[in-house]
């Protein structure tokens, strides 16, 4: 069968075939033709701040050790002994110059080079030959602290891959002191469904008032008029000033800021109550006076979703990572971020900001994402109906005036439009029908 025709049949202009979410063979192909072919988010530099620090990561299903080696170079080593295939590192994180396989004692430097094997005189081969080094991802690059890797030697540079979405990452970072954040653990969730269900949802402004109805009611339970949390979705979100924007390579962006007052402190005022709010807000206001608005806004969820295909979604103050595990099982990990104010831009208030910011970040995973996750699971269950073949994503398609092409080629539409799904599915289709030049380094 012609693969182009096959995948064209699965991704139509207005809909996709159920099998792209349910077929194990398609999932297996995604692990090479999508996750092997593009830049995939691996980890944040703040998770490995010192030389010899490492953290477990994955590229598709491949287990990796993401390490900052003795010279400070970031490498993505395959966590797979060259000898018999066992994972050589079984810790989630740590600091190590070498990794020794627990099975037969083969030992590797954190550059991936084989250090030695027990009783080498029993081998006729030359272990100085690089073929016995750990495999590693041939291209690993960072964008302002976000570490990506790709196996595809013909992929564009990371900067070109990110394209227009990098400007949104810049804006998200630049609101912080020093233009950076650090990761402070995570809310870790799992759902029994295909990973694309989470990516399809990442810029979806249509589901909010339905899937998150309980959260909207909860956040505004003591309000005369709903003004807290995601209240800007209420009423007619089609006509709200927020928008969704789809970029090349399947990336997208949802901007809810146009519906929020630009005055410093206005974002903070939208936060519903959180533990510690009364004490730490007062402390910050007492310390910073009229400058408190900017600091408090850093404790509030930034009103954007920045989605980098296929597995990264920066939203609020979270770095969310989608990790496929099987065709019908996905981990979504919501890494919390904190401000790190080395230059003292916040006048000593950084840790008080973080004391609030950690609590605000717990709210959505607890009271919002859990409802999305069961809706993803219910899609996966519904798609067992094999004769009912199609999943639609045609909201806004063909409606005059909804989708505008921007000068940079990106597409902009009301926040409830599904144009972003149509764009990333088109990219998915292109990737699945292409043959990436995949290789590893040793």
């Amino acid at each position: 069968m012609n693969t182009s025709t096959f995948f064209e049949g699965l991704v139509r202009e207005d809909r996709v075939h159920r099998s792209i979410y349910t077929d194990a063979a398609i999932f297996e192909r995604e692990m090479t033709h999508v996750f092997g072919a593009v830049w995939v988010y691996l980890a944040h530099e703040s998770q490995i701040p010192r030389n010899d620090d490492y953290v477990a990561a994955r590229l598709g299903l491949r287990p990796l050790i993401l390490v900052r080696d003795a010279e400070g170079k970031i490498r993505a080593l395959y966590n797979r002994c060259t000898h018999r295939g066992a994972r050589v590192c079984r810790q989630e994180r740590g600091n190590a110059r070498t990794f020794q396989c627990a099975y037969h004692g083969w030992t590797y430097f954190n550059t991936g080079r084989l250090r030695g094997v027990p009783w080498p005189e029993g081998y006729a081969c030359d272990f100085k030959d690089g073929q016995f080094n750990l495999a590693q991802v041939p291209r690993v690059e960072s964008y302002r602290g976000f570490i990506f890797g790709t196996l595809n030697l013909e992929a564009p540079s990371l900067e070109n891959y990110l394209g227009g979405i990098s400007g949104q990452i810049d804006q998200w970072l630049d609101r912080h002191p020093g233009g950076k954040v650090e990761v402070r653990e995570a809310n870790r969730l799992k759902f029994k469904g295909n990973w694309k269900l989470a990516y399809d949802n990442a810029a979806d402004g249509y589901h909010v008032v339905f899937s998150h109805r309980s959260l909207l009611e909860m956040e505004n339970r003591t309000q005369q008029d709903p003004t807290k949390g995601m209240s800007f979705y209420m009423g007619k979100p089609d006509e709200a000033p927020m928008y969704v924007q789809a970029f090349a390579h399947g990336h997208h962006f949802k901007d809810k800021r146009p519906g929020i007052d630009k005055r410093p402190g206005a974002l903070w005022e939208k936060e519903a109550p959180h533990p510690g709010m009364a004490f730490f807000e007062k402390k910050i206001r007492d310390r910073l006076g009229t400058g408190a608005g900017r600091a408090l806004d850093l404790a509030a969820a930034e009103a954007v979703n920045i989605n980098v295909f296929p597995n990264l979604s920066i939203l609020g103050n979270h770095i969310q990572v989608f990790q496929p595990l099987a065709v019908d099982e996905t981990d979504t990990t919501w890494y919390a971020t904190a401000v790190c104010d080395e230059a003292g831009e916040l006048g000593g208030a950084a840790e008080d900001v973080n004391a609030l910011r950690l609590r605000t970040q717990e709210a959505f995973p607890n009271f919002g994402e859990v409802d999305d996750a069961v809706n993803f699971e219910e899609i996966q269950r519904g798609l067992a109906a094999c004769e009912d073949e199609w999943v639609y994503m045609h909201r806004g398609l063909g409606v005059p005036g909804r989708v505008r092409t921007e000068p940079d080629g990106s597409l902009k539409a009301p926040a409830t439009d599904e144009v972003f799904m149509r764009c990333h599915m088109k990219e998915w289709q292109r990737l699945m029908a292409s043959e990436p030049k995949i290789s590893v380094l040793r």
Partner: protein
């Protein structure tokens, strides 16, 4: 509602940091604490959230660390609820639109290995193990771990001022952690 401050966090973390001492050898006290914990488990199994919340003090915390012993000043938790957020949590479950609990989990809880430890003055710490069987949409899952309760005597009974729920898989990806553990 302003009791969660620096001093509160410091006391909270230190009170659950060390379980190396000897448990109090007082069978009657242990039985009293065990009855409170079993009552709490039953009220949650019955979905009687108002009665459950009435076991807690006005200045309480329900805390599910996201790493073993994780410090809430340094990192996010699976759940960190002061009284206000705990009321939010219950409010949300009752909207009828909290899809992760609509339909709701059917649960049974086992509480065991109850040991009572001293804290400061008349305040006690109770350590217990738990197993929650959670049936939802045709699948049964299990939550397990141990709890630290901090109990304060008030008007002839013990009030729960903190409950720390230590899931054995607290730092793993959790499927639908929307029930109150």
């Amino acid at each position: 509602m302003s009791y969660v401050d620096e001093a509160y966090y410091a006391e909270l973390v230190s009170s659950f940091a060390d379980w190396s001492g000897e448990a109090i050898a007082d069978a009657a006290l242990r039985e009293r604490c065990r009855m409170l914990l079993e009552r709490e488990a039953r009220l949650l199994d019955q979905g009687r959230f108002d009665d459950w919340l009435a076991l807690y003090s006005a200045q309480c915390v329900y805390w599910v660390p996201g790493t073993p012993g994780g410090d809430p000043r340094r990192e996010v938790a699976v759940a960190f609820d002061d009284r206000r957020r705990l009321e939010d949590r219950i409010y949300r479950l009752r909207t009828g639109h909290a899809w992760s609990q609509a339909p709701a989990s059917r649960t049974v809880r086992l509480v065991g290995n109850v040991e009572v430890f001293p804290w400061k003055e008349e305040v006690l710490r109770v350590r217990s193990n738990f197993l929650v069987s959670d049936l939802r949409t045709g699948e049964t899952r299990f939550w397990s771990g141990w709890c630290g309760h901090r109990l304060r005597p008030r008007e002839g009974r013990y009030e729960i001022e903190v409950r720390q729920v230590n899931l054995i898989d607290c730092d793993q990806n959790l499927r639908n952690p929307s029930l109150i553990l």
